[in-house]
């Protein structure tokens, strides 16, 4: 329940809704006209509502509306949040323990600081069988300069300070990969990841589908055998398609919040004989890669 409270508190803060709490874990929200229009549709006047964060408190408070994952108000607030969070553009300006001063010249040391654009997307993977659906959230990031794809980068970003404007004086690297290509890289990564995973969840569903298809096949073979007709053949094809559509295990993958994050990379140059080598250091994940 603490997390539900945290979510609601933040949501109210961003929408500018006055929110206070009772002892019963019920939140009392005072919605302005603007907030009410956002929640309930245009021209809805402001009102006060109560949200109960558990079934017990919803039963105790007659007028309180249930606010737990899956409830109507939870789903509505999620819809608003997802709409608000569709896309953002941010620059990393501080990295704790690495880029603390906010001064580009100091942070670069004797290297060069450069912003590299990264496409960050949170994906929802829904594993669907004929009767169950489980979900999984993962984040993928594609460096639009180098094409590198990373999973879990988002959690490293959480510790950093991001802003809408860059650190002054820091150059921005050119994008070598467009958004569509980056999206394809993410797709390839997800497909690869899924291929490495245990597929037991799909196996039993797939077996059930095969059994149903065999039973259907047998029925139509017998029916067509005694009275062959184009109509029956077409019907068989349609019923087979319906069965696969309904029972085939599948994963549905959709991104739900994306961001273009400009990550500061420190580029070091080193000369060996007549050869110049470069090193790129990512202060977010503390990783260095060689550049040619």
């Amino acid at each position: 329940m603490g997390e539900l409270q945290d979510f609601l508190r933040e949501f109210c803060q961003y929408i500018d809704i006055n929110c206070r709490w009772t002892k019963d874990d019920v939140a009392i929200l005072e919605l302005s006209d603007e907030a009410a229009s956002l929640v309930d549709g245009p021209r809805t006047p402001g009102y006060t509502c109560q949200l109960a964060l558990s079934y017990e408190s919803a039963q105790r408070q007659k007028d309180a509306k249930l606010f737990v994952p899956g409830s109507y108000h939870w789903d509505r607030f999620q819809e608003i949040t997802l709409e608000k969070a569709r896309f953002c553009r941010q620059y990393v300006v501080r990295v704790p323990g690495c880029m603390d001063t906010g001064e580009a010249a100091l942070e670069a040391d004797d290297g060069q600081l450069i912003y590299e654009p990264h496409l960050l997307a949170h994906w929802r993977l829904s594993y669907r069988t004929d009767h169950t659906t489980t979900h999984r959230i993962l984040d993928l990031t594609v460096n639009l300069t180098s094409g590198d794809t990373t999973s879990g980068y988002y959690h490293s970003l959480l510790g950093c300070q991001l802003a809408k404007t860059p650190l002054p004086g820091v150059a921005q690297a050119k994008r070598r990969i467009n958004i569509k290509k980056a999206y394809d890289y993410m797709i390839q990564d997800i497909a690869y990841m899924l291929a490495q995973e245990d597929a037991t969840w799909a196996l039993s569903a797939s077996n059930r589908l095969q059994e149903e298809l065999q039973a259907l096949e047998k029925y139509y073979d017998q029916a067509i055998g005694t009275a062959p007709s184009d109509l029956l053949m077409a019907e068989k094809a349609m019923r087979t398609k319906e069965l696969k559509n309904r029972l085939q295990p599948k994963v549905m993958a959709s991104p739900f919040a994306t961001a273009l994050v400009y990550v500061p990379m420190i580029i070091y140059e080193a000369r060996f004989d007549n050869d110049t080598r470069y090193l790129r250091f990512d202060p977010i994940i503390g990783q260095a890669t060689g550049l040619h």
């Binding site: 997390e3 979510f7 933040e10 949501f11 961003y14 919803a58 509306k65 994952p69 899956g70 409830s71 109507y72 108000h73 939870w74 607030f77 997802l82 608000k84 969070a85 569709r86 896309f87 953002c88 949170h122 009767h131 169950t132 659906t133 489980t134 979900h135 999984r136 959230i137 984040d139 988002y154 959480l158 958004i179 569509k180 999206y183 797709i187 997800i190 291929a195 597929a199 799909a202 569903a205 797939s206 029925y219 029916a223 005694t226 349609m238 398609k241 319906e242 309904r246 029972l247 085939q248 295990p249 599948k250 994963v251 549905m252 993958a253 991104p255 739900f256 919040a257 994306t258 961001a259």
Partner: protein, 602 residues
């Protein structure tokens, strides 16, 4: 120069207008292994590119909150149904309480039957609610985006109201041929849907879910209804009927094959394995097991679903002197006409209807006598006008006096009064209004919108609703707890349907039913038959239907009574004929208890 532009008002939400520029939701699937594929959203990419170009830019805080919210949502337990959680607050506000058997049915259909099932609950147990729950559940799980509900035309509005008000599903009532492709959740009359040009449009589309109400109309595979539904491409499929089988095991076979071809094998293998004769199954246990995989039937009765009591009281009414004279005169007139009709092969039916109308009210009889006299030849005209004069001169109605007494007793309860005749309906309304009761009338001539308005008026402001037979079909009046049958329908199934509008799930009070019948008339015989002889009102719903079907009397019970009246030479003959009928019904009831086709349904 002024230019006027007329902008049409869009009544429906037209998907194609909104999403005309957007690509399909998902790309072609990527096969991961032999068992499954992954589908990637294409629309999200399109939106991302649009957002980038348009300069959409939210804050990082919102971005983090979206991720946080998604994680919290993902962690909740999706093994349970989403629909009751999602609608909990709304149901609390509108006073909907889902019954345990409804939740259990929804769960079984989704988890065990994978969304294809026959909901065969007995009348009044909430099949519509179960179907609504299942549809909403699939919508919330993202598995249904287009659904079609096919119903008899008289039930379209009820479905519309239930799905919108109880489940917040944005359904539309089909009105034009463009609605088929433009609306996501559509309710339509099956009779409209199966006709061109609609049929071609509907068959060209694939539906995530199809719901067919009153599905016993699909029991014959040679009908247009059956062929049309069979030709529809649908992922999930629900059929609703309180009587999945009536006459013949073949009906059951046709219904199941429509739902899940092969479940009962081919028809020849089904006959070989399961049929002794058309009503007697071989190996009923095995058949029941197969049916249990695709059908759910919840029943009323002790230990299953608790209902309030049904308290039925026959009310015998002594006719006034004027009414007795009229009845006697009409009765003699009809006997003369019966003898003539045997000789001259005329139909006697209009006169039988007249006899019934006399038992209902002199007013209804007068209207019919006037029409008959206008068409009659000279020799008959005189007699009919004489009868008309007798009817018009009647000043007091004994039944009306009795009704007013009953209304006084049940003063604090909303009451529904049923009558077969519109003439009687107008007569009752006039007298009830004169006695100060807020009276609303309901009949089959009302448009769908007018019917809904009438129901609203009755619920909010009315004391009494006076309805003809059409009120017995489909409308739910659980907030009413008194039913008065001003005249008795000759088909007892219709009587059951009338009471079923009030005595159903959601009824919180005991239901009082008063059956008015005039002494010394044909109504007295019918009332005695139903109440004393066969204990109609003690029967389990569906039992009577089974008995009548077994005797092949379902459609012809009324004509059977007409035969009795025609054959009987006098009152004692009539009484004897009714006794014979009662014995036949009782004997059929006893033999039905041994083996009913409906018993097959698990």
């Amino acid at each position: 120069m002024e230019i006027r532009i007329t902008v049409p008002i869009l009544k429906n939400t037209y998907r194609t207008f909104l999403s005309a520029s957007e690509p399909e939701e998902f790309k072609e699937p990527v096969a991961i292994n032999d068992h499954y594929s992954v589908y990637f959203s294409q629309r999200s990419l399109h939106r991302l590119v649009c957002d980038l170009r348009s300069g959409v830019d939210c804050s990082w805080e919102w971005h983090k909150l979206a991720r946080f919210g998604a994680e919290l949502t993902q962690r909740s337990d999706f093994a349970q149904l989403l629909c009751p959680v999602h609608l909990a607050s709304h149901w609390k506000a509108v006073g909907v309480i889902p019954y345990p058997h409804q939740l259990h049915t929804a769960h079984r259909v989704i988890e065990e039957m994978r969304g294809r099932a026959i909901l065969a609950d007995e009348v009044g147990l909430g099949k519509t609610i179960e179907a609504g729950m299942i549809l909403k559940e699939y919508i919330l799980r993202g598995l249904v985006r287009r659904a079609l509900i096919l119903t008899p035309v008289s039930l379209c509005w009820q479905w519309f109201e239930e799905l919108r008000s109880k489940f917040r599903i944005p359904v539309t009532l089909q009105r034009s041929q463009y609605d088929w492709s433009r609306c996501d959740y559509l309710i339509a009359s099956i009779d409209t849907a199966k006709r061109e040009p609609h049929r071609a449009v509907i068959l060209a589309m694939d539906w995530d879910m199809l719901i067919v109400d009153e599905a016993h109309r699909l029991k014959n595979s040679n009908t247009q209804n059956w062929k049309f539904v069979n030709a529809l491409e649908k992922k999930y499929f629900l059929m609703l009927t309180a009587t999945p089988v009536q006459n013949d095991l073949k009906e059951l076979y046709n219904l199941i094959t429509l739902l899940k071809p092969g479940q009962l094998g081919t028809y020849s293998s089904f006959r070989q394995r399961f049929v002794v004769d058309k009503r007697t199954p071989r190996d009923p246990e095995a058949l029941r097991s197969l049916l249990g995989q695709v059908m759910i039937r919840n029943r009323r009765g002790t230990g299953t679903i608790e209902f309030t009591k049904r308290i039925v009281k026959p009310v015998s009414v002594e006719l006034t002197a004027g009414e007795k004279e009229l009845y006697g005169a009409v009765n003699s007139f009809i006997r003369q006409q019966m003898e003539k009709s045997l000789a001259e092969k005329h139909t006697i039916l209009p006169y039988i209807v007249l006899l019934r109308e006399v038992c209902s009210s002199a007013w209804a009889a007068a209207l019919t006598l006037k029409k008959l006299s206008e068409k009659a030849e000279r020799d008959l005209k005189g007699e009919l006008l004489h009868l008309l004069k007798l009817a018009v001169n009647i000043e007091t109605s004994a039944k009306m006096q009795e009704l007013l007494k009953l209304m006084e007793i049940r003063r604090d309860e909303k009451t529904i009064v049923f009558t077969e005749y519109r003439g009687t309906q107008a007569f009752i309304k006039k007298h009830l209004e004169a006695s100060g009761l807020a009276t609303v009338t309901f009949d089959g001539t009302l448009s769908a919108g007018r019917k809904e308005f009438t129901k609203f008026l009755f619920r909010r402001y009315g004391d009494v609703l006076v309805s003809t037979e059409s009120g017995g079909e489909g409308i739910n009046l659980q907030y009413c707890s008194t039913v008065i049958n001003f005249d008795l329908p000759w088909n007892p199934m219709r009587l059951e349907q009338r009471i079923g509008r009030v005595h159903r799930l959601g009824q919180t009070k005991d239901v009082h039913v008063f059956n008015l019948a005039t002494l010394g008339t044909i109504e007295e015989h019918i009332l005695r038959l139903l109440h004393e002889k066969i204990n109609l009102f003690e029967m389990v719903v569906g039992e009577l239907d089974a008995i009548l079907t077994h005797l092949q009397l379902t459609r012809s019970f009324e004509s059977h009574l007409v035969d009795i009246i025609t054959r009987a030479k006098n009152e004692s003959d009539l009484a004897r004929e009714f006794d014979v009928l009662a014995h036949t019904l009782l004997a059929a009831r006893h033999s039905q208890r041994g083996a009913s086709i409906l018993d097959l349904v698990p």
